[in-house]
């Protein structure tokens, strides 16, 4: 049995301190602020907030629009994942779905809104094609479409991942038993997927509920809670206490979500061994799913195509001739390179430090007998629950007046904490899958624990490390809600710059910057994917 050694404690301590200082204390401080008026402790802030009609309306609106969006997303994502795993549509179509649907993840949500305006607005591309706007894009409609585009990739990945582990031999069994197709679908696909479906629904709901980028660009006069929070903190008349109260409200659905997920856990069951069997061909089904998949991808690509059209036309919508003038203008702006470099610094450091912290946390949790290691699981639960905006705001409260305010450091810390859960779980899962006796064997051979990690664990988890890196990098590049309260003039990021440009309605610049982010993310993602798959191939060959 592996024993706790000094080294483990030495690593554990700073990680614990990190979470204490950058997660627990700021959140508690904000919670505390929500009960204060001046120096008096009171419930008055909550009473005020609850009796504020606009705030109530915003809360209900947020609930409504997020609910609708997550129902739509869950259904769309399920069908897409089904098409990939349970139909015999052409493998190119499958690949197209996997790539096309997830592409929007590489962009900040604030861009989504502007893209929608230029697609469905009065002068939008679709409107030009049809002759008149289909519907007004501002407010409810825009939010639903925006949220669906935003959450579809995540929901799709989740479902897809889960469907991999469904034993397809049961389909055959069910067929042999001459089950009705609905019954077969229910028992072999739907029932095993129920936990994931619920999970995807909750996740998309929380993402929509707490997103700031989409309502900031396309919200119109439809009030939602995220914009209310922004206005309370950065509006003409600042209400700190109200901001704190709204933040606490924003945690409500997330906490409910965690409760529901724990209940749903029961529905998750694992097949001991997943058998892959050929799916039976079914012409009609395949044609339908091919059409459906292509339509979905086409819609996504079509909507985002505006991003590549508008900045390259002379004066959209009047003069549609091609020009590089706008792009050159944007590139000529001296601040821009600085902002871009800021973004790169933040993304790279977030990714590097983030990987170190998440890997160490996962390692301590999964492969050591350390006392109190469960606290890391708790930290990952909390980071999963707390919306970026709330985290950013609690930092603003807590670090205001300290020298950390407005530094890169605080932005990076916010990102690392905000996006902690997924990379942590990735690392934990792969670490748990490894032979549990490696460290013990190494210890018997008198190798130090760290040596074992460097020599044995790290090489075996390399692929996952690249994935974690890419996850952190991409998210740091596109996030708005977490850092909107934290950036200063000197630490401005590309994603928050877009919010600023919105102020001047400089759509062309917004699109050019978005293309910048997209390209950077594509390079990093493809790079990481390449290294991962390349390594795997080499390993397979050498086996």
């Amino acid at each position: 049995m592996l024993k706790t050694n000094k080294m483990m404690k030495l690593i554990f301590l700073p990680i614990l301190l990190f979470f204490l200082l950058f997660l627990i204390v700021p959140l508690l401080y904000m919670f505390w602020q929500s009960f204060k008026i001046g120096n008096v402790l009171t419930f008055q802030n909550y009473i005020d907030a609850l009796s504020n009609i606009e705030l109530r309306e915003a809360f209900i609106n947020s609930f409504k629009v997020s609910f609708v969006a997550s129902v739509v997303t869950t259904i769309l994502a399920f069908l897409l994942a089904y098409a990939v795993h349970f139909t015999t549509i052409h493998r190119h179509t499958k690949k197209l779905v996997q790539v096309g649907i997830t592409l929007p993840m590489l962009l900040p949500t604030i861009t989504y809104g502007f893209v929608l305006i230029y697609t469905f607005g009065n002068q939008g591309i679709l409107t030009k094609l049809i002759g008149q706007p289909l519907f007004t894009i501002y407010g409810y409609n825009g939010l639903v479409i925006g949220y669906v585009l935003y959450t579809l990739p995540v929901a799709f990945i989740l479902m897809q991942n889960s469907m991999q582990y469904i034993d397809k031999r049961f389909l055959l069994v069910s067929m042999l038993m001459r089950d009705h197709s609905l019954r077969r679908f229910y028992h072999t696909v739907f029932r095993p997927m129920l936990g994931t479906i619920g999970g995807a629904f909750i996740l998309t709901f929380i993402l929509s509920f707490t997103d700031f980028g989409i309502p900031a660009s396309v919200g119109g006069n439809y009030r939602v809670i995220a914009t209310e929070l922004y206005q309370a903190m950065l509006g003409s008349i600042v209400h700190f206490e109200r901001g704190a109260v709204i933040s606490v409200f924003m945690l409500v659905p997330a906490i409910l979500g965690v409760v529901m997920l724990t209940i749903l856990e029961r529905f998750n069951f694992q097949y001991k061994q997943v058998g892959q069997s050929e799916l039976v061909k079914h012409r009609l089904r395949d044609v339908l799913f091919t059409v459906y998949s292509i339509v979905c991808v086409a819609v996504v690509l079509f909507v985002f195509s505006t991003m590549f059209i508008v900045p390259f036309t002379k004066g959209y919508p009047y003069d549609l001739s091609f020009t590089l003038e706008h792009v050159q203008n944007v590139l000529a702006e001296k601040d821009l390179t600085k902002v871009y470099i800021n973004s790169l610094i933040v993304a790279v450091l977030t990714a590097v430090l983030g990987v170190v912290i998440t890997f160490m946390s996962a390692l301590l949790n999964a492969r050591t007998p350390l006392k109190g290691k469960k606290s890391l699981d708790v930290a990952s639960m909390i980071t999963n629950t707390v919306p970026g905006m709330v985290l950013g705001l609690s930092y603003l409260f807590f670090f205001n007046g300290t020298s950390l305010k407005g530094t890169f450091f605080i932005i990076i810390a916010c990102n690392i904490v905000h996006f902690f859960t997924t990379p942590y779980l990735m690392a934990k899962n792969s670490l748990q899958k490894m032979d549990p006796t490696w460290e013990v064997t190494a210890e018997l051979l008198r190798d130090s624990w760290l040596k074992t990690i460097v020599r044995i664990i790290l090489p075996n988890i390399r692929a996952t490390i690249y994935q974690m890196f890419s996850y952190y990098f991409l998210n740091a590049m596109v996030t708005v809600s977490g850092v909107i309260f934290l950036v200063s003039t000197k630490t401005m990021l590309v994603s928050t710059r877009i919010k600023e440009l919105q102020h001047f309605a400089k759509y062309t610049d917004i699109f050019v910057l978005s293309i910048f982010i997209l390209c950077t993310n594509l390079i990093v993602k493809l790079g990481c994917d390449y290294i991962t798959t390349h390594k795997e191939k080499v390993e397979e060959i050498s086996k």
């Binding site: 080294m7 030495l10 607005g121 009065n122 002068q123 007004t136 501002y138 407010g139 119109g220 006069n221 903190m233 950065l234 509006g235 003409s236 008349i237 600042v238 700190f240 959209y316 919508p317 009047y318 601040d335 610094i345 450091l349 590097v352 430090l353 205001n400 007046g401 407005g406 530094t407 890169f408 450091f409 990076i412 130090s448 624990w449 760290l450 040596k451 200063s488 003039t489 000197k490 401005m492 600023e500 919105q502 102020h503 001047f504 309605a505 400089k506």
Partner: protein
């Protein structure tokens, strides 16, 4: 153990380097003056080119904000604000000075027309007007509006855009004109109709409406008169109309934040903006602010008006309440 200690030290020093790099990036730009501004990009361009011409290139950074965002920041942070120089609606600077006394004295021999204060220098005057997209107007068969009230015609449903007084000082110019001409009661109705006509096109930024009119998203808008003049000169199908309710005005000023004696460069820069950039700004915002300034005839609005009392944040809050009431 030795090796592991070495690795530990390595990790720690790597982290230290990273942190130092962050800090270093900060320290590098330490001498730069940070200017927070609510001005529109046209005005910022003038300020930037003047500052660059006068040899301040690289010595300053301008950060744009919406009027309300910047106002909120000033009121909340006081002298803790990151900025060294602020250019902002004059009434906001005055209110911030009253409550937070956050600006230092920058009095000089400049002679502002309305007496002025010692901690701020006016830099530009905004004038509101209606503007239209002539093409869209024709397409939709709408009459050319002459007054703000004309825009409440149901024919303009979803085809009008104006800035929200909750976020933008340009929005205030509209509300001032309505209250002044129609009084509180009728004004309330006019505003309510206008709000319902604008639907989703109530903009948080003063530049929002002109952009929407330019792109043809709406047929008519209310905003800064000069933006429409510029758009028209660019050859776009845009025209400006002085509403009979009045072209109300609003000044913006520059002020230097109290940084405990470390304001020399900030003061220089603020003065350059108020003096040297003034020529360019006057062209863009044709309102005379200093003795002896001349404005081109074509730029003089037909119904130039001013609110009777001094503009203050308190008055703004009252007018915001009036707006909210109309929104119900």
């Amino acid at each position: 153990m030795k090796k592991s200690t070495g690795m530990m030290l390595g990790t720690v020093s790597a982290a230290a380097i990273v942190l130092a790099a962050c800090g270093g990036a900060e320290a590098n730009s330490e001498e730069q003056i940070i200017i927070y501004s609510n001005a529109d990009d046209e005005a910022i361009e003038v300020m930037e080119s003047t500052l660059d011409d006068k040899g301040y290139k690289g010595k300053y950074l301008i950060q744009s904000f919406g009027t309300s965002e910047l106002g909120g920041k000033m009121m909340a942070e006081g002298t803790d604000i990151e900025a060294d120089v602020v250019t902002m609606a004059s009434y906001f600077i005055e209110s911030a000075q009253t409550t937070k006394s956050m600006f230092v004295d920058i009095s000089s021999d400049l002679k502002p027309l309305d007496g002025g204060v010692t901690y701020a220098l006016p830099i530009l005057g905004n004038v509101g007007s209606i503007f239209i997209n002539t093409e869209v107007l024709q397409q939709k068969g709408l009459p050319v509006p002459q007054t703000i009230k004309d825009l409440t015609d149901p024919a303009y449903k979803d085809l009008v855009s104006f800035p929200n007084i909750m976020d933008s000082s340009t929005g205030w110019l509209l509300v001032q004109a309505i209250i002044k001409d129609y009084g509180e009661q009728e004004g309330q109705k006019v505003l309510a109709d206008l709000i319902s006509n604008a639907g989703p096109h109530i903009e948080s930024s003063g530049s929002g409406p002109i952009k929407k009119v330019k792109t043809g998203e709406v047929a008519a808008g209310f905003g800064l008169r000069i933006q429409a003049i510029d758009a028209k000169n660019e050859g776009l199908p845009i025209d400006y109309i002085d509403p009979t309710e009045g072209n109300f005005t609003l000044t913006e000023s520059v002020a230097v934040v109290d940084k405990e004696g470390d304001e020399a460069l900030a003061k220089e820069i603020a003065k350059v903006i108020a003096t040297e950039a003034r020529g360019g700004l006057l062209e863009q915002y044709p309102v005379a602010l200093y003795e002896g300034e001349q404005v081109k005839d074509e730029h003089v609005p037909a119904y130039l008006k001013k609110w009777d009392s001094t503009l203050t944040v308190d008055l703004l809050e009252k007018h915001q309440a009036f707006f909210k009431e109309a929104q119900r």
